[in-house]
């Protein structure tokens, strides 16, 4: 505003004297109507997907970290001290922010085996919350006071931020390693980058390790393979604990919240990979969905038991671009003694959904690993129609592997 002349000031003062009939009741009427409009307005899709995106990010910490690791023959930076440094920590607290600017506080505890996360709680600055208890994952949306429930562990860390994870990093040969110094603290950092096509969509990442303590301290993940654009998720700080403080994982959700099953949404980028090649998967003509799902799951686990990597790629198109070493690590679990020795059972379909390709189903599988332990896993089987033929492919796991106690 320029400096007002006397004339302008006179007119302005006159205009400000014009008073409208107004009272607190008018305020209440306008404001109540506005608040009601906000309640029914459709929230921004980017934000709504924030939880899902984070969940995907958390769930694919598996692949993510695996990915960092995949194919490395000789890392420039020795990881053994990291493994030693991280092995003793069974809880962690992460401060993170998604691309819409929502900040999250995450607490996670490792299972006693130290192989993957058990309980987890994440609270968002927008009032949202995600928590994992007893193999189920809960997503609370404060706008609708609804809790969506996944009957699987779809958020968490597998492997846990520990030795196995670091071994995987040590195997990544497409990872890039750089060295830097944080000018604020003067601490030396080691930055590792990489990318992978995962069940949650294509991702790329950058992880910072504190060179002295050898612990990961920050992390960024992009929803593309090139680390282009704003990160979908940035973990700004990681604090490690030997045990989680009492009450750290507590969640407060209104007692009147409504619990509903969480829909399974397969990313479009992945669907595009599933209907390219009609020769992938197994024919489903003349079979019920139950029969077709059982057939393809039997085949894929047989391939895993026999170490038949081309068959795994053919039956699970998302792994088609994965290296042999990555497949051995993620699918066969060769180095952990967890390699599948036998399929104990393939259960009846527990869920069904649909997308542009057709129907998909979720079927539970119980496995025995070579070390004698039993594991439960749920697999998503996608049906599709290509070249006039009905067939199905294995999309990937629904949630994490969990050990049968």
């Amino acid at each position: 505003m320029h400096e007002l002349s006397e004339m302008e000031r006179t007119v302005k003062n006159g205009l400000l004297q014009l008073e409208a009939p107004w009272d607190a009741a008018a305020d209440a009427r306008v404001l109540d109507a506005a608040l009601a409009a906000v309640r029914v307005a459709k929230p921004r899709p980017a934000l709504r997907s924030g939880i899902a995106r984070w969940a995907a990010a958390a769930a694919c910490a598996v692949v993510l970290v695996v990915a960092i690791a995949h194919r490395t023959a000789r890392p420039v930076w020795a990881l053994e001290p990291v493994i030693e440094a991280m092995g003793k920590y069974k809880a962690c607290n992460l401060t993170m922010i998604d691309q819409t600017g929502v900040a999250y506080d995450l607490w996670a505890k490792a299972e006693p085996s130290g192989e993957l996360s058990s309980e987890l709680t994440m609270r968002g600055g927008n009032g949202s919350a995600i928590w994992v208890r007893e193999g189920r994952t809960y997503y609370y949306d404060p706008r609708s006071s609804t809790v969506e429930v996944d009957d699987a562990k779809t958020a968490g860390f597998s492997p846990w931020l520990g030795p196995e994870l670091m071994k995987m990093i040590a195997k990544a040969n497409d990872a890039r390693t750089a060295y830097a110094t944080d000018p604020a603290t003067g601490r030396d950092l080691v930055v590792m980058t990489g990318n992978l096509a995962t069940a949650a969509g294509p991702i790329s990442w950058s992880i910072e390790f504190d060179k002295e303590s050898k612990l990961p301290v920050a992390f960024k993940q992009w929803a593309n393979l090139k680390r282009s654009g704003a990160p979908a998720l940035s973990i700004l700080r990681i604090v490690y604990y030997q045990e989680a403080p009492k009450g750290a994982l507590t969640v407060d959700v209104p007692a009147n919240a409504i619990y509903v099953p969480k829909p399974i949404i397969l990313p479009e980028a992945n669907l595009a990979l599933l209907d390219r090649n009609p020769n992938q998967g197994v024919p489903a003509d003349g079979l019920t969905r139950e029969q077709a799902a059982r057939e393809i799951l039997e085949r894929v686990y047989r391939a895993a038991i026999e170490g038949d990597l081309p068959a795994i790629r053919r039956l699970c198109p998302l792994t088609a671009s994965w290296s042999d070493e990555l497949l051995r690590m993620v699918i066969l679990h060769e180095e952990e003694g967890k390699r599948v020795a036998a399929v104990v059972s393939i259960g009846a379909i527990v869920r069904e959904g649909s997308n542009r390709l057709g129907t998909f189903v979720v079927a539970p599988v119980r496995l025995r690993s070579r070390d004698g332990r039993l594991w439960d896993e749920k697999q998503i089987v996608q049906f599709r129609s290509t070249g006039g033929r009905e067939s199905c492919v294995v999309y990937g796991p629904y949630g994490m592997l969990s050990e049968v106690k």
Binding site: M7, L15, L18, A20, A33, L35, T100
Partner: protein, 183 residues
């Protein structure tokens, strides 16, 4: 800071945070009320105009993109709505407008003080201005929008906005001088 706060509020509103809507309303209500009061021929319509603008804005929660100042945006929305209301009142007949203006004047405090007398004269003078001049005068003096912003939001050149303002102000000056007031 105010603009930064508005951006955060809009971001929170887009996330469905009703607290942000409340804050936006409380923060900008006075300014919007003044703009509406100065632009409407019938001030009893102020609540309706504010209601329409604020609720319309709230309905965009989740997809509203703030480009520039939120106050400027809401002020322009109020000006648009006031213009519509004035047009519809005009369609109902000039007598009604006159009656409404008279009624609102009578309903206010008696013009006993010089200040209120001046306000009444200015109100009358404003009522005689072409809508587009009146709008620029109100948005600039009451809404405190820079000419650049008015021009952008109205899709006119900055020179046009400033000309409308000058002509409007000149007519008010003439009206004031006509009743013996000299600014």
């Amino acid at each position: 800071m105010s603009i930064i706060e508005d951006r955060i509020l809009v971001w929170r509103l887009n996330a469905g945070d009703s607290g942000a809507m409340r804050r936006i309303y409380e923060k900008h209500r006075t300014c919007l009320m003044r703009v509406a009061s100065a632009l409407l021929n019938d001030r009893s319509q102020v609540e309706d105009v504010l209601h329409d603008v604020i609720v319309g804005f709230a309905e965009t929660a989740g997809r509203f993109e703030l480009k520039g100042s939120l106050r400027a945006f809401l002020s322009i929305c109020v000006a648009n709505r006031a213009r519509d209301v004035n047009r519809s009142v005009r369609r109902r007949g000039a007598e009604c407008v006159e009656e409404a203006g008279l009624a609102s004047r009578q309903a206010g405090p008696e013009a006993e003080t010089m200040r209120l007398e001046l306000a009444t004269i200015i109100e009358d003078a404003m009522a005689q201005l072409p809508g587009e001049q009146r709008e620029v005068v109100v948005l600039h003096l009451v809404g405190e929008l820079p000419f650049r912003q008015i021009a952008r939001l109205r899709d006119i050149s900055i020179n046009t906005a400033m000309s409308r303002y000058r002509y409007g102000l000149e007519k008010i000056r003439t009206a004031l001088e006509g009743v013996g007031c000299h600014a």
